[in-house]
Symmetry: D3
Subunit: 137 residues, 6 copies
């Protein structure tokens, strides 16, 4: 069993808020992350897949195929976007790093499985001090 990690990046705007709360209540709970005018981040994403090395070609998987899934299903949907307003798979979700990592997992897991590999983890860095990791369960 070998683990292969691909790093990707995207820059996006978001805000944290609960629809049932007022702006003031959201600011009280989420602090400046609830700013109604939005803020943003350079997110860094590490996706780790696992499986057996193919003895014939030395690969777990052709990394270009992994990259294409990440590009089509994640990076192109998130990069230079407003995550709350424009990202289909985060619709009606609170755009916390936690929920975003889970959302990214759900976006890419089926495609990676079709490649014959298993998704191991989605790691998402919001700032250099804050990182979330999700293992699918």
């Amino acid at each position: 069993m070998i683990y292969l990690t691909r790093r990707e990046r995207f820059s996006a705007a978001h805000r944290l808020f609960q629809p049932g709360l007022s702006d003031i209540e959201n600011l009280e709970f989420y602090g400046s992350c609830a700013n109604p005018n939005w803020h943003g981040h350079n997110y860094v994403l590490w996706v780790t897949v696992k499986g057996e090395i193919n003895r014939e070609n030395g690969y777990l998987v052709d990394l270009k195929k992994v990259s294409k899934i990440l590009k089509d299903r994640v990076v192109d949907k998130l990069d230079h976007k407003n995550i709350n307003l424009e990202v289909d798979f985060m619709k009606d979700m609170i755009v916390s790093t936690e929920n975003l990592a889970v959302g990214i997992w759900n976006q890419i897991e089926p495609g990676l499985r079709k490649l014959g590999i298993e998704l191991h983890s989605v790691k998402l860095q919001e700032t250099e001090n804050n990182i979330v990791e999700y293992f699918g369960k």
Copy 2:
């Protein structure tokens, strides 16, 4: 003459657009940076000041005083904000990294001068691949 650099960080939303152009024209010129729904970045800022070392205390300047100016005049105004909508010193400016670096210079130069040191450069990283530096002239 010694050069002293302080690194600070802020996360903010912005978009690039010229008020005289339509959304479509702005998207044609600025690409996804013109997204009307905003996007954002983790900006990294390096401010370099210069002057003579004080022989009595070994400092060019007490770095805490520099940090306070950066915090009051730059980081607190930009962090978790929408630069186009909420930052006084960028009002009516195109929020390019170039203009933002110049804006930051103008914000901090008078205060640093009062500390008896000279502002040498403002370096601003928008993404790990894009950096702007301004030397005040």
Copy 3:
């Protein structure tokens, strides 16, 4: 189950020595790390907690509460200190990175548990080439 990591930093002095050995014996065993005049490091700390995402607010936990525990129980006690002489929870311990990681775990585990989350790991970097990680057992 989601994993959330917070990075913190502190700069401290220390030395490695066994009280039952002479300075020369300690230098033989620990090399320059046993220097009786001390040396120091910029330590980087990553603390990972885990638990279920709160569906109402999208958080595993309010990261500010985690940060406050890390600040009160770890960073304020260690930053700009001599770990051997001044840090209560390392008293009579050999200040190896291994022991320091375990000590930090013990400092923060009860407080994090009170927040309703589980401490997963304490990762401590002494230099860019040396890292220790502790999982509590």
Copy 4:
């Protein structure tokens, strides 16, 4: 149980190809990684070992002994070398990052075991976007 990680680096040339395929077939499968004229990387290696902290000296293991094994068995064999042509333990192997991580594991596992510690993982970064990790099974 404590985990201790040592980082090492080496710069080497390699190419990906299957001996049973023509150059054109290899280029089709591996892309530019199959360039018959070679290319190269600055590899970064993190080796993690685990075991109990020695209560007498505070160490899991004397890191200098780990470093010596890594130097003798891995870095000196790979650094400034052509991995395909000159590295004994990669002979007749496809020099993918996956196979190289496994090869490094096999090189160092016996020596680390003799030190009374257990090898936990070999992590190998080929570029800042591509990382492989192997846990020995």
Copy 5:
């Protein structure tokens, strides 16, 4: 006057040798960098251009145009290549980092000038410990 820097990366093989010297003499002079079987690096390139900010659009220059020049004239020619054997602009040159930085300058300077901006510096990192910078004179 504003300075704008673009970071690019390429992975390549090379060796250092003087055609008038024997392999042994080259190994004596250049050490393992003269290995006749090649070695390689992940090079990191920072290209800095300078000029006046365009008041109408807030840009020094459209960074995509700079990137295209770097891609066409540098990265596509060097990435996953053997610099000694395959790179036209390094033909008959000793492939030191110094010469490579000058070669890259000459490759991109005319195109950048046509964009109405001035090339300020080419900075090239061979390993995390070795960097060369060239200012064109």
Copy 6:
């Protein structure tokens, strides 16, 4: 004219204090940096030299010769040391990053000049947020 930079690292203890002030006065002026029990850092040093490329060998200078000067005159004297107590060239100096950068300049400038190259700058990072650079005048 080409610029060549070598990165080195050392870990050391120090404190900031003026001998004419009491411990309390020093703590008032320098804050926790004046801790009489010392603290420490992982310093990162970048030394930049400049000159003409030697057309015969492609080098500005053999970097191994630069490294040897840095090792003998700087790193071996500072690494795992108490800078206030044990470093000859900082005797009776306030161990600020400013003074340390100047001290390092004076240590290495004559040796580098004998190599036929010119010392351009000494850049010294105390923490990831604080950097000093000295150009010799």
